[in-house]
Subunit: 345 residues, 4 copies
Amino acid sequence: MIKVSIIGATGYAGAELLRLLYNHPQVEVVHITSESHTGKAISEVYPHLRGLYDQKLISMKDLDVIAKDSDFVFIGLPHGHAMEVGKALADTNVRIIDLGADYRFDDTTVYEQWYKVPHTHKDAPRVYGLAELYRDEIKSAKIIGNAGCYTTASILALAPLVKNEFIETNTIIVDAKSGTSGAGRSPKLMNHYPEFYDNFKAYGVATHRHTPEIEQALGHLCHRKVMLNFTPHLVPMSRGILSTCYANIKQWVTPEMIDAAYNEMYGKEYFIRLLGRGGYPSTKEVRGSNFCDIGWHIDLRTGRIIVLSAIDNLVKGAAGQAIQNMNIACGLDEKTGLDITPIYP
Amino acid sequence: MIKVSIIGATGYAGAELLRLLYNHPQVEVVHITSESHTGKAISEVYPHLRGLYDQKLISMKDLDVIAKDSDFVFIGLPHGHAMEVGKALADTNVRIIDLGADYRFDDTTVYEQWYKVPHTHKDAPRVYGLAELYRDEIKSAKIIGNAGCYTTASILALAPLVKNEFIETNTIIVDAKSGTSGAGRSPKLMNHYPEFYDNFKAYGVATHRHTPEIEQALGHLCHRKVMLNFTPHLVPMSRGILSTCYANIKQWVTPEMIDAAYNEMYGKEYFIRLLGRGGYPSTKEVRGSNFCDIGWHIDLRTGRIIVLSAIDNLVKGAAGQAIQNMNIACGLDEKTGLDITPIYP
Amino acid sequence: MIKVSIIGATGYAGAELLRLLYNHPQVEVVHITSESHTGKAISEVYPHLRGLYDQKLISMKDLDVIAKDSDFVFIGLPHGHAMEVGKALADTNVRIIDLGADYRFDDTTVYEQWYKVPHTHKDAPRVYGLAELYRDEIKSAKIIGNAGCYTTASILALAPLVKNEFIETNTIIVDAKSGTSGAGRSPKLMNHYPEFYDNFKAYGVATHRHTPEIEQALGHLCHRKVMLNFTPHLVPMSRGILSTCYANIKQWVTPEMIDAAYNEMYGKEYFIRLLGRGGYPSTKEVRGSNFCDIGWHIDLRTGRIIVLSAIDNLVKGAAGQAIQNMNIACGLDEKTGLDITPIYP
Amino acid sequence: MIKVSIIGATGYAGAELLRLLYNHPQVEVVHITSESHTGKAISEVYPHLRGLYDQKLISMKDLDVIAKDSDFVFIGLPHGHAMEVGKALADTNVRIIDLGADYRFDDTTVYEQWYKVPHTHKDAPRVYGLAELYRDEIKSAKIIGNAGCYTTASILALAPLVKNEFIETNTIIVDAKSGTSGAGRSPKLMNHYPEFYDNFKAYGVATHRHTPEIEQALGHLCHRKVMLNFTPHLVPMSRGILSTCYANIKQWVTPEMIDAAYNEMYGKEYFIRLLGRGGYPSTKEVRGSNFCDIGWHIDLRTGRIIVLSAIDNLVKGAAGQAIQNMNIACGLDEKTGLDITPIYP
């Protein structure tokens, strides 16, 4: 049995980890922490878990105990805090999967620039946690910086095109839309039910912190700096992300070459379902599951490709991918604990 | 392995059976039928299942083959059609769980009165499929008439009170509210997205066919005829039922006696989570799971009890209970394939 | 021109007053106050009003100025605070319409019992602000305690039956459902978008403060004490209330007598649209308007009547009725400023 | 009084015309037609209008009568049908506002190419009905081809940039999102409530018929052919469109020049509310009103501008703009009948 603990277990990613780990045959959840709800049963904070989990939330101050009892630690803390934990656990055997941003970047100055906090663990032995693209590195990683939600959908959508140099990378635009659980569990006016019902808006235009993360991953694939626009939007629903990605196709590239590139890169990937050319993923078709559905459209008239990519922001965009990464890191079948159908309707 | 087939597999209950059975360790889904989609892959009708089920839908005309290959058959046909199937399979070894109404009634004239169709299998060896209350009969049932969604929530809410004669049964009122998946998958104006968004309404007042079903089950518990009002309402959401049940409490009954009655009847039931006196179940806390959450409130001022009961209409209200009944009928642990957490948020 | 001011203008009722008053041909909005947003333009707090209202919010400390400049003052403060304002303005000519509960009760001990605050203006010259039933008193009222949202829908639903003694008043049950704007604009976990999306629940069972208000109005109609159960529920939508009201019909009452009672009481009421026996009001059919749609169903089998009543909680349940009351009090055509169609879809 | 008739009055645009015209002080609605509901009262088809409109729907076969009795005719028929009406009324004095696509195009071969039906009224004296940009032509137009919903939002967003040659028009991408009322009132599986709740998807990628309409209007502004990508998406809400428009800014253009361009073009436009640089329009802030809210963001890092534009698809995207155009054509104040606040929440 793999012993896991969750530090910062009361955000939605934490709740989702508990849902998925409940049925993971090889995992035992040992400790769960929360600073705002220390001492409470998790089912007090998340009543849907009553009768399923009886753990009490402890404080993360007991990091030693947590480390001693765990093989893996998932960190669900806000950015800026995970690196403290990572640093404290640097000399232990515990392996870390951070669901936040602290360990996603090669270049910590990029992190500092976009996240506006100093990075205190610059030399951490870390790997970017986007399972399908960084699988080998993840196998032996000490610290995995689990990829972000929007970024996972967007990078997976564009990777085959960038890797094969099929598109002009300086024309990439990612227009993404997410359900409201992506904004977290703290009540705010913007997410107040009557405020956002029958409403739709963009936010973080040109400034969203997922921008450099997508640029980094795509840059890895084509070995040069990539600059793009990423625009997130809030959808009046609970879960789900659809990423609509645009780019100019190079003149010599044919639709067949593009189809082949997707099939080659993802044909064997269990969690990536290719809808093919002309396909229309929808967020509900992957809801509750670790799937990423991808469809692409080629506009010969304008010379552009439009790639659509749908995930569940809490599963493939957070907890599901974290467990997938843990499976990889443990040498387990990647599907372990994640082999479920989406929930429809 | 238990071999199951689903006749009429393309309604929402069918889709939900496929979701839950996917992870049932002892079940193999053999045949799935549909008359409107014969020949199609199920993933064509339900794209969320792509990559998970590759079965093609056959016609139910091949009932012999289906029966021969199956231990259990779930019927997801509209009422009036299941009895034909039941009759045709009467002399086979196949055991049947009908998710419709055809086999729910002791007295088929009641069925005919409310469903307006003649009953063609009046002497069918059938059992009412509300697991917690009819467990013994279900164990050896040939045909199980799976309880309805609203009825399951309402009967479970009231059963301890009726069994113990704590309430005046002629004062019972059930005011229930359901998400839209309960109305099925056929597009109609009432359920057209822009028509029902930001909308709420009642329907079937004094005429809903679940009325006699609740009356029958409660009548079984107190051994006399029960008559009540049941009013369904449609909520602009996907899944979930909340039943608000009212009744006058007999003068000699104390709150403690009521608490004890619920604990006694349900304390050991895995799928019934008692929130206790003052508890407020919510549909989202059971969403996607087979749980029924119950809370009750005693109004000493008016002498009434108000019981709140929440289920997922497609799980405990249909497919989940069907599988629970199948487990009982097979002698399996009742939780098999149903031991999952609700999905939140 | 009637000069009106709004004290506590930044709640949803305040915003709704501003929407409806914008097109009231005889009203000029003079002062609008807010203690939390003093100094801001109203369009800062409610951006949808940009370009339509340029007023700045002032503090209510300047009550003298406000009184001097206004013919009418609408109070949108939380309960407990309006009575201070009413007392301070007792000797002025300003007429007051309080959208809260402070002036709704004949017997202030009932208020104190349910609202848990001492009433500091017990002898206020007040009238209950449910336009259709208290019209004459409203005409000359100094202070109008605008009826509550749930209460308006419920009282209007039951009034003809109670007035004519057609039902056993001790069997009345009101099961009501409201959109989330009824809970106000303060972000709370319960109303946090991802928490309440695809969710439904009851609250305030046996304890909701609208209970005595309904009891009082019905008591006025039959001249005796009425006791009933009122159960509110939250619907995952923005606006709207549907009240489902149950009562036992007296044996000698016929359906025709009931129909006649509704027609007699409401046949000439512009804002009450009778859908008749068998009618199914829906909240969206009155959304954005001051209408109350009523339909009733008689269950001869159980001897009960079920009355359905739909309003927009912010219009007929608050701001619309307040303006209707103001029109009555000013001797204007009651429809002035309220003669609009609902917004659909 | 201006006499208007609505041909094809039972779609959502027709219902919205009836809502807005109800309070238009100069308009009398004379005839309303429907082929599917001929003979019914409009309140039978749209119960929210009960008590407000008592007209019966007639057939459009009586076109002569309709023309004789009307000054203006609004056409709410599906594309391909309006041109028959326009042709039939060519020699009458009646002025026509078509809410469909038949009269939007200068070049009818473009229409035929994208709408796949032959154009039977190629030489019609028509004007594109986007009020702010075609005001002069609209004043004396015989036939106004009311602009589409997505197109209105997108063209208004980009017009100042294109007119001033601030952007590379071959880099324009429009990513738009609409509530479900845009898809009309015919029940279809895609818009079936439980199918689309908690769901989001794109459609019509590279093929949507609004593409050439946006290209035409922008082409008018810069006097050359414009080619762009337009991608629509469906949002699980009732109303609203947000258009997110991207383009590369020419090197010599400064943010101040862009701000000035928007202010110059729209500063005096009542229905266009400029949120300025950094502004975030939301669909709910314009809901129910004829406003178009625009905000823009300049990304100096990538050299792009991102313009956000929000409208209500049924108001500024259809009925509201149609009435605005009618006001212009009649020489009335453009705000007549449209001077209302959005409805919030």
